[in-house]
Amino acid sequence: MSLLTIEGVWKNYHGHSVLRGIDLSVEAHEVVCLIGASGSGKSTLLRCVNLLETVDDGVIRLDGADITDVRTDADEVRKSVGIVFQAFNLFPHMTVLDNITLAPRRVHGVGRARAEEEARDLLDRFGLADKAGAYPDRLSGGQQQRVAVIRALATRPRLMLLDEVTSALDPALVAEVLEIIRELKAGGMTMILTTHEMGFCREIADTVCFLDDGVLLERGTPEQIFTDPREPRTREFLRTVLDARRL
């Protein structure tokens, strides 16, 4: 059974359909990369999986359980699904350590000492050991985003959603965030990520999905999508992106 299945999901904003009948399944330990132009619905799909948005139709199942059921406790679902945002969204009034230990302590009932020990281990693993006591505004964008990833990891999610996590970073800092994602994949984490980094997408994804105007137009291995896309729209999108890169 797939870890996550999305069946016929629709989402409307002000009479405009952002997602138009999305079907997608994600196996455990699979890394799925969503590509597509801005406004194609990639971020909205991630927000629906995390229940930050309610779907207007269709079903999303996590481990076979329907999480779009109106009786579902969203807080319970979010305990096993972590999300990292484009704009980091760290809590500015808390130190790095407090940012990371907040959810383990308040949501999962882990004691302070153990939560902090685990947080320090994670910080250590991702090269941020000396930043535990710092406030987010003292960190570079790349460091902030790494802390955001660690914060999501600290709740031991079964599925991680990464929403354009490198888009707000200057090029010199992108690499350090991508490195952390490679490590997650090596550790067997199931992930869905949206990105504009096509090279990285090709390297890390098991499956690439191309979204166009709210429709999942094409799905395949990175090899197939990047070298031999079936859909003309996919081909056009990839050409535009690669042309922009060359400039």
């Binding site: 995390n50 930050l52 969203a74 807080d75 319970e76 979010r78 305990k79 699904v81 972590g82 999300i83 945002f85 704009a87 969204n89 760290l90 809590f91 500015p92 009034h93 907040l102 959810a103 308040r106 949501v107 999962h108 505004d137 914060r151 999501a152 709740t155």
Partner: protein, 281 residues
């Protein structure tokens, strides 16, 4: 890195000299213009036809000295009133602001009550609230209802200012970016936990300056409780004025209020400037 020592260039020395001269000139201009302005103002006031009369009734040194102890004693009542009222107002305001943010249907009556409360008490002039509470509650003759004027004054001011402070808190809560809430909820925190650990601590920093501003206003408005018979600074000054036809005691009361509100206003400015700097950082 190679070793380098800085020797100021001739150009830089020249530049600094010009800057210094300019600073001295600015200081001189500011001083001269201030003195000239005050001089003209004094000349206009003291040259007015009614000045001798005004000086006698408002600036009488002897009346000032005579009224000082009693007005000061009365002012202590004002201080007590706002010292008691302020913490209660903070708690009430926060409670009302949080009640307005509750979304669960079971809390609808609470939310409706909070909306009605702010609408009513922000709409009614403070002096009317004081009169209604001050004369209305004792008239009910309820057992255990306060009849002491100071307590009634505190109740009335709390009701009136609680509504303003609730709105300040609500604005502060709304000013925290929705992405902060999304981040907290996505980590599994409940609505209440999100409020307590993420939203309120950030809102609190932003509302301190406007809160202090409301408190400056409250400190002045403690004089309004004189209307229900509390003998505080204003009433004490009026008693003197009525018996001697000299209004200098009112000036005493005014100076006492200023002595309290100006430091408060400076503190507000200071905190506002500090939060401005922090946001810029």
């Amino acid at each position: 890195m190679s070793e380098r020592t800085w020797v100021k260039s001739e150009r830089q020395v020249q530049r600094e000299r010009v800057r210094r001269n300019r600073a001295v000139r600015s200081g001189t201009v500011a001083t001269v213009s201030t003195i000239a302005f005050l001089g003209v103002l004094a000349a206009v006031v003291t040259g007015s036809p009614g000045w001798p009369r005004v000086r006698e009734t408002f600036f009488d040194a002897e009346a000032f000295a005579r009224a000082w102890p009693d007005v000061l004693a009365g002012f202590w009542t004002n201080v007590q009133i706002f010292l008691i009222a302020e913490p209660i107002i903070l708690v009430l305001g926060l409670f009302v602001a949080l009640a307005r943010n509750l979304r669960a249907p079971a809390f609808f009556p609470l939310r409706a009550l909070a909306v009605a409360y702010t609408d009513v008490f922000r709409g009614v002039p403070t002096i009317l609230v004081i009169l209604l509470v001050g004369f209305g509650i004792p008239a009910l003759g309820l057992q255990g209802a306060p009849t002491d004027e100071i307590t009634l004054g505190v109740v009335a001011l709390t009701l009136s200012y609680g509504a303003y402070v609730a709105e300040v808190f609500r604005a502060g809560i709304d000013s925290v970016h929705p992405s902060q809430r999304a981040a907290a909820r996505s980590l599994g925190l409940s609505h209440g936990q999100t409020m307590r650990h993420v939203v309120l601590p950030q809102a609190w920093r932003r509302v301190v300056p406007p809160l202090l501003n409301d408190f400056v206003s409250l400190q002045k408005d403690t004089a309004l409780v004189s209307t229900i018979g509390v003998v505080e600074a204003l009433r004490q000054a009026q008693i003197y004025a009525a018996s001697t036809f000299n209004y200098t005691p009112t000036l005493v009361a005014a100076l006492l209020f200023i002595a309290l509100t100006i430091p408060m206003a400076r503190l507000t400015d200071h905190l506002a400037a500090r939060s401005q700097r922090r946001r810029g950082a």
